[in-house]
């Protein structure tokens, strides 16, 4: 076990940070907000943490925390601006936001290191730390997925008019999803950057949006568990099959397209459907037995 762990420690950490990034995109989608601002938050969080370490000489965790707070605030402010947009317009406006972050980083001069990026921001982070942060994030998300909160969020997503009419403040929920997505994205960016010790503008690009989307769409968009399944598949598949390694992006493009067509609820959706069907059959069988006894 410990041998396996030390051999694959990089992959394990990548899985966890990919999961955080995927969650930052998944949260708004679960609220019915088609926002990719989480990837922009990844950039803000990563750059803030790196700047705090390199220029201000801060230690690891205050830097990461600062990144998460600032990206949370920025994305919340973005939410205030764009929350009245719908569907595709929202998607494209937030993609534009993400790409502006990258342009800002290129033009940031000494502060952001320009096109070359920032180097030498190596934090003291191990897998335990990431797991602890992830546990907190997942706990918050589980709270938003279950019971009354879960039902209210489902209503906000599926039928905003109905939600409004039964007294759910749709705008407030949408804004909350922006803030949450910003904080999670910022955490993902800060941790990833301090693990690798560098961040460049080229990293905050459209490909990162695809990475996050792939994980969610393949795993399942309705629950953090889906994002986890997606992140595991996404990170580990190339290491298992060498064909996948060479044609990585082709395979992922194909998977995303197929999932969008045939599995709108991802692998998790398929599993849940199967469990549901199995339970229904059991229930029917039980009822049939009861009726015979009459």
């Amino acid at each position: 076990m410990s041998d396996w762990y030390s051999m694959n420690v990089v992959l394990i950490q990548t899985t966890l940070t990919t999961l955080l990034l995927a969650l930052s995109i998944q949260v708004p989608i679960r609220f019915g907000v088609f926002s990719f601002a989480g990837v922009g938050a990844f950039g803000i969080g990563g750059y803030t943490a790196a700047i705090a370490m390199v220029h201000l000489g801060w230690t690891t965790w205050p830097s990461v925390a600062l990144g998460a707070v600032i990206s949370g605030i920025v994305v919340f402010a973005l939410g205030l601006l764009v929350q009245r947009l719908t569907g595709l317009y929202m998607g494209m406006a937030t993609i534009a936001f993400t790409l502006i972050i990258s342009v800002l980083a290129v033009n940031g001069g000494e502060l952001t290191g320009g096109a070359g990026g920032l180097y030498g921001a190596l934090g003291e982070i191990d897998t335990g730390h990431i797991l602890a942060i992830l546990a907190v994030v997942v706990a918050v998300l589980v709270w938003t997925e279950t019971k009354g909160m879960g039902r209210r969020i489902d209503t906000v997503r599926e039928d905003p008019e109905l939600a409004n009419s039964v007294g759910i403040d749709v705008v407030k929920y949408r804004l909350a999803s922006f803030a949450l997505s910003g904080v999670i994205g910022g955490l993902a960016g800060g941790i990833t950057t301090l693990l690798r010790s560098t961040i460049t503008p080229a990293e905050v690009n459209f490909h990162l949006v695809i990475v996050a989307l792939t994980a969610i769409i393949v795993g399942g968009a309705r629950s953090w568990l889906g994002a986890f399944i997606g992140a595991v598949i996404f990170v580990w598949l190339p290491t298992m099959i060498s064909f996948v390694q060479e044609w990585e992006k082709v395979v992922y493009g194909f998977i995303v397209a197929v999932a969008a067509i045939y599995l709108p609820n991802g692998v998790l959706g398929v599993v849940k459907d199967l469990i549901h069907r199995f339970r229904t059959r059991q229930e029917r069988a039980r009822l049939a037995v009861l009726q015979e006894k009459g």
């Binding site: 719908t86 569907g87 595709l88 534009a96 502006i100 992006k249 194909f254 969008a260 709108p264």
Partner: protein
């Protein structure tokens, strides 16, 4: 004056690219994220063909146009049509089409990147651009072709959508797809034809831009995609004339920024424009206003 000519040439490339996207999105409601990849891959196939045999200008353009139409038609047939058939409502379909398009777009991009190792590619052609001098202004023959083609197709398409019976049917689908279908409009066939036309325009733009610049990189399509979105939003969704104006406005704004020596900020122009327009006038310059309840 020379600048104006450059704006006209750049704007015409933008226009040829954005027209296809605007036509598809404004009428059958599909935001095709694979449009940039279609554009790039048409030029790439042209590159592959011309590296076998040398071809004249028109033959290369024809190859690219046909490839573009074929890719777009296949995308519609294999991805978007199944998604439309399987989606419960327009809102769900929009998101799945966007995600499916992102997946589809990743495939040709990755193939081209793999084959060229992400370096730019061009055509080997018997055609050589000459520089014309008109009233002391310099204009290459390629740019002249680009400007004429851009303006002619832009105006032609605008008039066609406004005047012809097919154009009326297309606009009817854009306003209310179900009623249009009830009036005897064959949605599936028309959507298929519209996608193929858009793909052909993407192929044309790809071939012409490659001729003009000498070479393009596999990633060129992705950058154009965001710019085309800015153009469509600026002009107003569903308005072909708006797209024509938007293309030249964006080209003018970018050239202005470039001439003021803010070269690294050029990309921010289109992203910023998306933002400003969406916030200040979401229906665009010439668009119709949509009614929203939440």
């Amino acid at each position: 004056m020379q600048d104006l000519l450059n704006v006209a040439s750049l704007g015409s490339i933008y226009l040829l690219f954005a027209l296809g996207m605007a036509l598809v999105w404004g009428t059958i409601g599909i935001l095709n994220f694979a449009h940039g990849a279609t554009f790039m891959f048409s030029a790439f196939v042209g590159h592959l063909v011309t590296s076998e045999t040398e071809l004249p200008f028109l033959a290369v353009v024809l190859v690219a146009v046909l490839v573009g139409a074929a890719i777009a038609a296949l995308t519609q047939l294999l991805a978007f049509q199944p998604i439309l058939k399987r989606s419960k409502n327009q809102h769900a379909a929009e998101m799945r089409i966007l995600i499916g398009g992102i997946g589809v777009a990743a495939i040709p991009l990755a193939i081209a990147q793999h084959q060229t190792r992400s370096s730019p590619f061009g055509f080997r052609s018997s055609y050589e651009a000459e520089v014309l001098e008109i009233f002391g202004l310099r204009l290459s023959t390629t740019s002249a072709v680009v400007i004429v083609a851009g303006l002619a197709i832009g105006i032609g398409l605008t008039v066609w959508v406004r005047r012809s019976r097919r154009g009326l049917a297309l606009r009817a689908i854009g306003v209310d797809a179900e009623t249009a279908a009830g009036m005897g409009v064959n949605r599936t066939l028309l959507a298929f034809g519209t996608m193929a036309t858009a793909g052909a325009l993407a192929g044309l733009a790809g071939a012409l831009l490659t001729f003009q610049l000498g070479a393009i990189a596999p990633e060129t399509g992705d950058q154009l995609l965001i710019k085309a979105f800015a153009i469509i939003v600026l002009g107003g969704l569903g308005s072909m004339a708006g797209t024509v104006i938007g293309a030249y406005v964006l080209a003018g704004a970018e050239t202005l920024v470039l001439n003021l020596n803010y070269g690294t900020w050029v990309d921010a122009v289109s992203f910023g424009l998306i933002f400003l327009i969406l916030l200040a006038r979401p229906q665009g310059l010439l668009g119709r206003k949509e009614v929203r309840r939440t």
